[in-house]
């Protein structure tokens, strides 16, 4: 369970200061598919980054399963970025020199030392093969990002986000750079992952139709939660497990 309380964040540039987050509190339950909508500059992307430790809040706390993650050491923070969260970005953000396969394996390359990698590489490769199968990219593993289409790059990025079996996938406008058709394909993939694999997803989007298909939608305006729809999500499977 990802929980944020009273998050505040102000960007200062010279004399101007913009309060991007103005006391946002939010709870994401395991297995939930949450969407965040809002006008440009409303702070939704910043909220996502702060939740995922890519940015730090000025005040307020964030915790995963009751353990705070906003005031931890760099080392722990790197671990959390690597294994607790998976990121999907609007511009895919794949490394251009590496093949789709190596890109998806990057979190493992980062978490493993040289010898650790040598020892565990078979498991990792198996895991990546499964994920590529799951996101539908098995036929293009050796291609470099520039040889892939936008949809394929986003599938690769999703595979990378899922590699370490993260607690939460944070998706920043994952369909923002794709046409409607490809965008819908990606959305159905995310829904599928959420429904069948129990992946928790927090997604920022401009597309209200897509947002409507998720369990719960939060609208952000001027750094505050302006409106909340849902939840349509009943965490029945997980409550049965726990």
């Amino acid at each position: 369970m990802l929980k944020a309380e009273q998050l505040c964040k102000t960007y200062r540039r010279n004399a101007d200061s913009v309060q991007v987050l103005n006391g946002i509190s939010l709870t994401v339950r395991d297995g939930e598919f949450l969407s965040i909508v809002g006008a440009s500059g409303s702070g939704k992307s910043t909220l996502l980054h702060v939740l995922g430790t890519l940015d730090s809040p000025d005040s307020g706390t964030i915790s995963v399963d009751g353990k705070r993650i906003d005031n931890i050491s760099n080392r722990e923070r790197d671990r959390i970025r690597n294994a607790t969260f998976g990121y999907v970005f609007q511009f895919y953000h794949l490394l251009p020199e590496l093949s789709a396969y190596d890109n998806a394996l990057m979190p493992a390359y980062i978490s493993e030392s040289f010898f650790g990698w040598m020892k565990n590489r078979k498991q990792w490769r198996k895991r990546v093969d499964e994920l590529f199968e799951r996101v539908g990219l098995s036929h293009r593993t050796t291609h470099k990002p520039r040889e892939l289409s936008g949809g394929e790059m986003q599938r690769c990025a999703i595979a990378r986000a899922l590699l370490q079996r993260p607690r939460v996938v944070l998706a920043d406008e994952p369909t923002g750079n794709l046409d409607t058709e490809k965008g819908n394909e990606i959305m159905s993939l995310l829904h599928d992952l959420n429904r069948h694999d129990g992946v928790t997803i927090v997604m920022v989007t401009h597309n209200l139709e897509m947002a409507a298909t998720t369990h719960r939608t939060i609208r952000i305006s001027s750094g505050r939660i302006a409106e909340e729809k849902g939840p349509t999500f009943r965490p029945r499977i997980l409550s049965a497990v726990s």
Binding site: D78, R81, N82, Y87, H93, L94, E97, M106, I110
Partner: protein
């Protein structure tokens, strides 16, 4: 793990990196070539400087020579604490003089240094016989006229000599020096000690029908070098051939009075040290002693020390020379090693090499700055990738490591290529020089300046290793700043960078 992966990927895909590799390569190659050539020159020059010098040289400022008979001097040295290290002692006389001869109708007079030596002993202490160009009669060279010289010798030449001998030298006052050690000297003017040479008479047939006396002339003294205007090649024309006669004039031992005689060239002396080759004329020790009317006196003792004498790099045998110095009065004689004699020159070679290295290492410094510049560019180009890596959990150290390892890899590749190139050039430097010569008509290595017909090289493994280590260090150090900048980037800043 990702560090190595990315380093290798970047190495293979970044063309900018080749600029770094090439600048390191050129720096390393230049340093290796220059050091090898400098070291070759320096070794060769040291050999040359050493030339005919013995390990330890004892000389007196007294123009008439030591007061003691050379055998007594030798005895005194052998009985001293340094004696066990003394292998051979060669007495000699060195004196300034002039030589005069005819060349194509011209009357040539040149200043010379006249050396009276015992050829066999001199060969033992200073390799004298090794430098003779005509006779290959080692280990016993001589001043006897060679068959070649005898054949060319013009029997009609009147061999003249200063006929009237001056009185034999009186002993100096050096023996009264309070520093004087050793046994009571036996003076040369004591008739019981050494008989004076027979006083030659002008009418004696010995001088009317004299036997030609051989001398050995420095190669450059006997040859004229000029540039052939047609071919541009330096050519040597012999001004003195074996069998030619010369007049040699010098000063008598005991008073300011010229003495001269006619001698016949038997051989050339070629040590390739221009100072020696253009000034030295050797003659048999008794001949010079007789010319200068100095009895059995000598002015120099050349000492070869034994092989088991402890040696060092520079100023090798100070102890032997110090011990020998103690045997003589402060002003009576000076004992010094050959390095003492050539000390300033030897030091100059080393200083020159040190400064050249310092300057050339700046080439590697320039390579370092090109790495700094290029890495700053690569980091700028890779800001987004750095953001991605950080969002995937890469640590600051890890990101820094990518770039430092990358620089290290570039350094390794550059050093390897540079070492290969440097060694290749050094090995083939003479061929390269010939090639450049043919293509441009410019002579890079003027053989008329040096007496080497080849560019000497000496590859020192330690120098190659130090150059490589230095270049690697510079490569890694200059990557620190850009790498540090990369490490400090916050992922959000980096990801927003489009």
């Amino acid at each position: 793990m990702y560090k190595f992966l990315l380093c290798l990927k970047y190495l293979r895909t970044r063309y900018l990196a080749f600029v770094c590799i090439i600048s390191i390569m050129l720096g390393v190659a230049t340093l290796i070539v220059v050091n090898s050539v400098m070291s070759g020159f320096s070794n060769k020059l040291k050999d040359r400087l050493r030339g005919v010098l013995a390990d330890v040289i004892v000389e007196t400022d007294h123009f008439g020579g030591f007061d003691l008979h050379p055998d007594l001097l030798e005895d005194r040295i052998r009985r001293s604490p340094a004696g066990k290290y003394v292998d051979t002692i060669a007495p000699s006389v060195e004196v300034v003089g002039t030589v005069q001869f005819q060349f194509r109708g011209m009357n040539i007079v040149k200043p010379i240094k006249l050396l009276g030596v015992d050829p066999v002993r001199q060969t033992k202490v200073g390799g004298f016989g090794n430098y003779l160009t005509r006779q290959k009669v080692l280990p016993a060279p001589s001043f006897e006229l060679t068959s070649e010289a005898l054949q060319l010798f013009d029997k009609n030449v009147r061999l003249e000599s200063m006929l009237e001998p001056p009185p034999p030298p009186v002993s100096s006052t050096a023996k009264k020096d309070s520093d004087f050690l050793g046994p009571e000297p036996v003076l040369i003017d004591d008739p019981k000690a050494i008989p004076l040479p027979p006083v030659p008479d002008a009418n004696l047939p010995e001088f009317q029908d004299p036997k030609p006396i051989g001398i050995i002339v420095g190669h450059s003294l006997a040859h004229f070098r000029y540039k052939n205007p047609d071919t541009g090649v330096i050519e040597e024309v012999p001004g003195l051939r074996p069998g030619d006669h010369v007049m040699i004039a010098t000063l008598a031992a005991n008073e300011m009075r010229p003495v001269w005689g006619t001698y016949v060239v038997t051989d050339y002396f070629k040590s390739e040290m221009s100072e020696y080759d253009s000034q030295f004329i050797y003659m048999d020790l008794p001949d010079l002693q007789r010319l200068r009317k100095m009895g059995d006196r000598v002015t120099h003792l050349q000492i070869k020390v034994t092989d088991d004498c402890p040696k060092g790099y520079m100023f090798v045998k100070p102890n032997v020379s110090n011990e020998i110095q103690k045997l003589f009065g402060k002003f009576e004689a000076r004992a010094a090693t050959w390095e003492d004699h050539q000390g300033p020159l030897l030091a100059a070679i080393d200083i020159e090499r040190g400064i050249l290295n310092l300057l050339l290492f700046m080439i590697v410094g320039v390579a370092g700055f090109s790495i700094l510049a290029i890495f700053t560019m690569i980091v700028s180009e890779k800001i987004r990738d750095i953001g991605i890596l950080k969002s995937l959990g890469a640590s600051n150290h890890g990101v820094m490591g990518i770039f430092v390892w990358y620089a290290f890899l570039l350094g390794i590749v550059g050093c390897a290529a540079g070492t290969a190139m440097g060694l290749g050039i050094t090995e083939n430097i003479n061929e390269i020089e010939t090639f450049v010569n043919e293509q441009t008509g410019q002579q890079l290595f003027d053989r008329s300046v040096y007496y080497f017909d080849k560019i000497p090289t000496n590859i020192e493994v330690s120098t190659v290793l130090i150059v490589n280590a230095g270049a690697l260090l510079v490569a890694v150090m200059s990557s620190f700043l850009p790498a540090f900048r990369a490490a400090r980037l916050r992922p959000i800043q980096a990801l927003r960078f489009e």
